[in-house]
Symmetry: C2
Subunit: 234 residues, 2 copies
DNA sequence: ACATTGCTGTCAACAGTGTTGACTTCGCCG
DNA sequence: CGGCGAAGTCAACACTGTTGACAGCAATGT
């Protein structure tokens, strides 16, 4: 054996990046619930505890992984209006939290904001300043937007990533409410057929409310008639 | 020993209710993270596995516990305006999710809505019908409200229940943003002193946006001037 | 009144998890 | 070539939820 064993070049050395690659692959294929240290070791063909030479503990690894997944920016068509651009960006952000709720929770708990989160804040603040909001108002609105995006994303993730398939059967859910005792739940029974609307539309609906308020804050009074594209979209 | 052993009356028998009492006590005093089957057993002075005679598994126990904690209704002063009442109710609901995030997540994942959740939906739908919203609109708005309340509650819980105390040091967080490279993060640096506003105010701010939109939907055009009690305190 | 039957509690154990310490091996640098 | 530190391996610990076999109590049927 002169140089390298050459039996398998796929195992050159362990590395933060290689470990994160493996972890990302596992998350993508099997979900965060399956991401254990032993599983990472198996994916790398190495001993599970070898990972501890590169990451202090699992949390540190997960935070790095989250920052990597949250750092990807969407490329939007350039000819969008201010409102459409903002809306698309918020929806994209929400979907990031939606598809990786466990990682999102870790990012939320982490005190030092990671670079990807700081970049998102800067982008949003720039858009808000663009239409004339003061730094004070922009900061207030930013927190509302963050609540909206992160909160809704987490909530949707819980609904959709639950083990029980009945969670996604909205017809069955509506039926449950339709069959409630009409004496005790009169309004729920009547509204039953319209409950559990499409989640994407619901998110956009709420986003429009926020954008309306922002435009009113910015002094553009012509938004008082309501959102312009109500009910459009996928 | 004629009747009962009388050596210790504190251990009459195990019971779903007694177990839930113990679990609730543990959650209140030590948090959900400390709620293990063995800990419950110790609290009851019984073998941990005895719990499995009354609950199929830990999830079932937690869901029952969640429904109990979420079933408590707030008693509000009766002389509140429609808007104030709704606002107070939403804030109370949000704080429930905020103080018991782990239980809230379990409720969200559970397909069959529990009685407490159904009661909340009925209450909200009644308030929306009260001001003239159609069942369709009420159902749409209800989903938005649910996103707002549950999402924000979960998000706030993550921020506040994190282990690291720096999470609650908003001054430090602001300082981090103030010290970012001004070339790359111009707006973030300028807005830094105003970032991370009070979370309760932020929630109310967003609630006002939604209530404005609701009143506009209900045809009461006089809400176009904005919310009436903006910035009112705790 | 007795016997049976089923529910309740106990014990030991299993399959997982993250993590640590000791040991070995590799690679680089003097 | 020697040595020294980083990297990988192995066994083990503490902890989790959960299960199956056993023992005792209570109520029930005859």
């Amino acid at each position: 054996m002169p140089d390298t064993p050459a039996e398998d070049v796929s195992r050159p050395r362990l590395d933060r990046e290689r470990i994160l690659d493996a972890a990302e692959a596992i998350v993508r294929e099997e979900g965060v619930g399956r991401l254990t240290m032993r599983r990472i070791g198996a994916e790398l063909g190495a001993d599970p505890t070898a990972v501890y030479r590169h990451f202090r503990n699992k949390d540190e690894l997960l935070i790095q992984l989250a920052d990597r997944l949250f750092g990807i920016a969407p490329d939007l068509p350039p000819d969008l209006s201010w409102r459409e651009r903002f809306k698309a960006e918020l929806r994209y952000s929400m979907n990031r939290y939606r598809s990786h709720p466990d990682l999102a929770m870790l990012l939320a708990v982490q005190p030092d904001d990671t670079p990807s989160l700081q970049a998102i804040a800067e982008w949003d603040l720039a858009r808000l300043a663009e239409i004339g909001l003061s730094p004070e108002d922009a900061a207030r609105v930013l927190q509302v937007i963050e609540n909206h995006v992160v909160g809704t994303g987490l909530y949707y993730a819980l609904i959709e990533h639950g083990d029980d398939p009945r969670l996604r059967d909205t017809d069955a859910m509506r039926r449950v409410y339709a069959l409630l005792p009409a004496g005790e739940f009169p309004h729920a029974v009547v509204a039953a057929p319209h409950l559990f609307p499409d989640l994407d539309e619901s998110f956009d609906f709420a986003t429009d409310m926020i954008l309306d308020a922002i435009e009113r804050l910015a002094g553009k009074g012509d938004a008082a008639t309501g959102s312009t594209d109500e009910g459009a979209g996928t």
